[in-house]
């Protein structure tokens, strides 16, 4: 018998795509949609209160089904999931952590997305250094451009839409903004992706469109460089020191200084595996990320749980839409053949991008020992290296016990991956093979206060 209750955890592209399929089925079904943001759309479709939803086809308010009952749980995070006699009990908390409640469902589609990866450099903790995602949100949602000379540094395609948004909003506000994009890899690596482009011709146009836009709007581009240091004068950012790097991100020791008052940084995305780990879903390593193992219908190793989107491998919003649809159609016991063809093309493209923009661990060779890695607990590179070389730390987890790196409010979301790579680098003689199923499990998936629990 088809399900009568489904929870969708994560209302981004994958979750909303699944929701559309469930709504279109015209079946009596209860869907609990849970997202930690105040509005649905995920990070990809962040939009301002009152503005139309950016992707009208997936806007839940446009679904006309009267059979489906959708219960929205926005500004809500899941902190624990229990499996009880064939159904799931999902424990949630409000974003302040002060109110908790529980929903029960038969099936779960987990689509918790990804968080942006950043790499540490000297003074990256200073105000005025932020992730490219933070800058994109400030500019796009709030029309705030917090600098005049902006450097977007990192690796991957995300810098392109961010640069474009800044130039568009800057023009609208009549501001005078200069943007420089610093990319760690060479643009010629795109040739390696020719097969992926052939299968996805629309992507060629998209890429060329960005290059033309940047040229027309005077966005400067530098490649094969990463930022080594944000230069400060009395606490304010006055520039960046960029260094030339090889494709493994190790330095070839040529440095140059550029004027800047704002630095945005972005090195791809990391799947948010918090809930997947709590559920004990089988995981594997893919392009150095731990991802959820799924079958061709997006089923996970746990009966009744499907996974879709970035947690099954970083691939962008289009792939997430396909995977969300396939998961929902499988729950409805319907065919999803056309979505599977799309998913095939999109996965090839995602693999191609991962090859063009690899984030190898060479970045940590040129780090200053005094550079902070764990921003919450203020733990430096030197302390982490010492925990490996002198105290025998062999993973991000053991380094945490010695140094507190990853023990702060963010629970290692920002630093864990970087700590792991520093430890692996120090211990490179001992051939460290890390196992995706042994990554740190956070027993509590979100912020919840004791007061909220006792309600």
């Amino acid at each position: 018998m088809p399900a009568t209750s489904v929870a969708i955890i994560g209302a981004g592209p994958a979750g909303l795509s699944a929701l559309r399929q469930l709504a279109n089925a015209k079946r009596v079904i209860r869907v609990e949609v849970i997202d930690s943001n105040p509005r649905y759309g995920g990070q990809y479709w962040r939009h301002r209160e009152g503005d139309p939803f950016p992707e009208s086809e997936l806007d839940p308010t446009s679904h006309s089904s009267t059979e489906i009952r959708i219960n929205w749980h926005l500004s809500t995070s899941v902190w624990q999931i229990e499996s009880v006699a064939g159904s799931f009990r999902i424990h949630t908390a409000s974003s302040s952590g002060e109110k908790s409640s529980t929903v029960e469902v038969e099936k779960i589609i987990i689509a918790t997305g990804a968080t942006e990866r950043t790499l540490p450099f000297k003074n990256w903790t200073a105000p005025g250094v932020m992730s490219a995602g933070a800058l994109q949100s400030l500019v796009k949602e709030y029309q705030v451009i917090p600098g005049k000379k902006i450097v977007i540094a990192g690796s991957g395609v995300f810098a392109l839409p961010v640069a474009k948004t800044i130039m568009e909003v800057s023009k609208k506000l009549g501001a005078d903004t200069a943007v420089t994009v610093i990319e760690a890899q060479s643009i010629f690596r795109w040739w390696r992706n020719s097969f992926a482009f052939l299968l996805n011709p629309g992507k060629i146009l998209e890429a060329v469109g960005y290059l033309f836009f940047m040229k027309r709007h005077g966005v400067k581009r530098l490649s094969k460089r990463i930022v080594r240091e944000a230069r400060l004068e009395s606490g304010e950012i006055v520039g960046v020191m960029a260094m030339k790097v090889r494709s493994d991100l190790s330095s070839d020791s040529t440095n140059e200084v550029l004027a800047a008052d704002l630095v945005a940084t972005s090195f791809g995305f990391i799947p948010d595996m918090t809930l997947a780990s709590i559920l004990g879903l089988e995981r594997k390593n893919q392009n150095d990320d731990a991802v959820v193992v799924v079958d061709s219908n997006q089923r996970t190793s746990l009966k009744g749980v499907w996974a879709a989107g970035e947690i099954t491998g970083i691939g962008g919003h289009e792939l997430a839409i396909s995977e969300g649809a396939i998961a929902a159609l499988d729950i409805l016991e319907k065919s999803s053949q056309s979505w599977k063809l799309r998913r095939f093309r999109q996965r090839v493209f995602a693999r191609g991008l991962a090859k063009i923009y690899p984030i190898s661990s060479g970045w940590n060779k040129s780090l200053d020992d005094s550079t902070i890695v764990c921003r919450c607990e203020e733990v430096s590179v030197g302390e982490i290296k010492q925990s490996a070389s002198e105290l025998g730390a062999d993973s991000a987890r053991t380094a945490k016990l010695f140094t507190r790196a990853g023990m702060g409010l963010c629970q290692g979301r920002i630093c864990q991956r970087n700590v792991k790579e520093i430890i692996d680098f120090v211990r490179s003689d001992s051939k460290n093979v890390s196992d995706a199923n042994r990554e740190t499990v956070r027993p509590i998936g979100g912020v919840v206060t004791l007061g909220g629990l006792s309600d």
Partner: protein, 86 residues
């Protein structure tokens, strides 16, 4: 008249839908808190509630993420020093 809230006693104007961080940064201010060990200035970093670097004190409650909490007329926001407790 523009809507305002107070940040360390100064009036910050905001537009509806603004988060505290968006309004403070639009006013040209940069720092939102100071760390508890090294006393370093910090501000918004991830922008989506994951990193907890933008935590401020809102109406006496510490550790509130300025990138998530909406600006509201008359709230008292303070730059958080360390753990935010006296």
């Amino acid at each position: 008249m523009a809507k305002t809230f107070s940040f360390d006693g100064e009036a910050i104007s905001f537009e509806s839908g603004d988060t505290i961080a968006a309004a403070v940064l639009r006013s040209g201010r940069k720092s939102l808190r100071r760390t508890r060990f090294h006393g370093e200035e910090r501000s918004i970093f991830c922008g989506i509630g994951q990193c907890f670097d933008c935590i401020v004190i809102v109406d006496g409650r510490s550790n509130q993420r300025a990138c998530l909490v909406r600006a509201e007329e008359g709230i008292q926001v303070e730059h958080q020093e360390g753990a935010g407790q006296a």
